[in-house]
Amino acid sequence: MSDPTVTMASERTPEPGPTAGAGPGRPSRRSVSPARQMLLDLVTRPRFAVPGTLVLLLAVIAVFPGPIAGFFGNGDPLACDLNRSGLPAGEGHPFGFDIQGCDLYAQVIYGARPSITIAVIVTVTSTLVAMALGLVAGYYGGVIDTILGRGIDLFYGFPFMLAAIVILTALGSHGIWAVSGTMAAFCWPTMTRVMRASVLATRKLDYVKAARALGASDLRIMVRHILPNAFAPVLVLASLTVGGIIAGEASLTYLGVGLRAPSISWGVQLNTAQSYFNSNPNLLIYPSLFLCVTVLSFVLVGDAVRDILDPKSR
């Protein structure tokens, strides 16, 4: 019996064992799962590897800011001395000092944590909500779908920034959870729509009918047959959204409705820096440099993920 996978010049490896490495001519093994194959494709792609490494580095910074901030010997962002307010870079203080006399390098490093935490919380929650709601709406259709659809339309009616400012002002709380919650509230509707569309396309396929013809329950069909075949577009959208959320969080914080002064965050630093740009441009340059690189890295990672999951749009 002819086998399509063997037609390409494949070196047979007996075991579906460890990763292929960077050897030329990736060996095609018959039982590598599609998910693992995609992951392999992703990691070996230069367009992913560079921003991917940066994202990984940022994640490490977010999780362990202490040792990295302490790299130059002055790791405590709150060890401030007003006598050093606004001093330029010097020994052990590569970025100089901010207006409060705190080490700017340590401040910028610690600033990564809230940005990335918020981005992760918002993306994960809105993706999960979107997958669940999109699955139910797309699969059952009818009244459930209509109600959900109109609910989503309602959210589309608000301009995001304005609505977020109003909500955060009304809430009066400016912690990570308040900011994350507000942003997630405006993130899930788009994702849910994408998920629903994808479920609608998958639901009509023969193997879903076949599963039903063979007696599978609704829940089983949704979880085992539709979800694994329908979540790729949402995953792409989610990975492209992360960068936007980081930028959005910084904007809200800069506008004064997001995180506030005792918290250390790039947005807060930029907010302070705007008044001192002429005398202390480093206050603006370093946080915005980190912010730009972070957003860009996440966006590029999102692009690479899209290329892999949705090769047609390349």
């Binding site: 799962s33 076949a210 013809a213 047959h225 694994p228």
Partner: protein, 332 residues
């Protein structure tokens, strides 16, 4: 249709009508007043052109009609229990008592699950077997449907194996719980003839083991190969039914005759006669005989009166007003 009064047939469809509702248009009758009986150990072939309502009939039996399709009349009885009247019975019967084999095996299998796992799922869902037990049973089943090296194939994904082997996997899933009724919707259409033969042999083995088989096809050669009984459909209605050998050797209905005449033959290239015209628009079916517009024997009466399916001789029936003339011509 005639049948021995004593036993309850495995599947008995009576007067089934299915319509598709369209927005801002009259509903379309896809199947009209269809009756069909299938017995254990017997293969009934539903033969007809594309658009004749074969697949819709199969989906109706399995309860898989799309959102805008409705059964408007008739009954579908599995072992005497009316499935249309009792959706719970329909759900319970799917997979366990009746199963369906789809035409395109590539789209009938979940692309991101290993084929072995997809078969094993049948045992896990319906019989609650452990992962290891279900796997062992799946491999046994793959061996039973003649898949070489089943241990290794079980780890393949659908796109990695050939069409014939995929269709065997689909059949393995369908027969996993030993359903008494199998419905196969053009299971060999996407395969080349040598692979087709193997699949037909497999179905033959299954019916010999006692399963009732409803086999849908447009391929008369395939029908001749496997059928015990043939139901010829045209434009949603039954034109002729009877034992396979007799229907194919001595077709009564002009449509069956035309269909047989349009089969290409190796020994006589160019000798086939295609049926002129096309299927009537399902939204605007003729008032009289559905085949009248294309029938060489049609009279004014044919275009005015819809013929009923009438029994001609034991086991055979045809829906044609001019059946006596046709038989007369045949006799000469």
């Amino acid at each position: 249709m005639t049948m021995p009064a004593s036993e309850t047939p495995l599947l008995e469809i009576q007067g089934l009508s299915v319509e598709f509702r369209a927005r801002r248009a009259a509903p379309v009758q896809a199947v009209q007043d269809l009756s069909l009986t299938a017995r254990a150990g017997e293969c009934v072939v539903v033969l007809g052109e594309s658009g004749s309502g074969k697949s819709v009939t199969a989906k109706a039996v399995m309860g898989l009609l799309e959102g805008n399709a409705r059964t408007t009349a008739g009954s579908i009885r599995l072992d005497g229990a009316d499935l249309l009247a009792d959706p719970a019975a329909m759900r319970a019967a799917r997979g366990r008592d009746m199963a369906m084999v789809f035409q395109d095996s590539l789209s009938a299998l979940n692309p991101v699950q290993r084929v072995g796992d997809q078969i094993a799922e049948m045992f896990r869902v319906h019989q609650g077997l452990s992962k290891a037990e279900a796997r062992t049973r799946a491999i046994e089943l793959m061996r039973q449907v003649a898949i070489p090296d089943p241990e290794r194939r079980a780890r393949s994904y659908p796109h990695q194996i050939s069409g014939g082997m995929r269709q065997r996997i689909v059949i393995a899933m369908a027969i996993a719980l030993k359903p008494r009724l199998l419905i196969a919707d053009e299971p060999t259409t996407a395969l080349d003839v040598t692979v087709q033969k193997g699949i037909l042999d497999l179905f033959r083995v299954l019916t010999e083991a006692g399963a009732g088989l409803v086999f849908i096809t447009h391929d008369i050669g395939v029908a001749a190969e496997i059928a015990d009984h043939i139901v010829v459909m045209y434009a949603g209605s039954v034109m002729e039914t009877g034992p396979a050998r007799e229907v194919l050797a001595r077709p009564h209905h002009p449509y069956t005759r035309a269909l047989l005449a349009s089969v290409p033959r190796i020994e006589r290239p160019g000798a086939r006669t295609p049926i002129p015209g096309g299927l009537p628009d399902p939204a605007d079916r003729p008032a009289g005989c559905l085949f009248a517009p294309r029938c060489p024997l049609a009279t004014a009466d044919c275009t005015a009166t819809r013929p009923e399916l009438e029994s001609l001789e034991p086991g055979r029936a045809a829906a044609c007003l001019r059946i006596t003339e046709v038989q007369h011509v045949l006799a000469q």
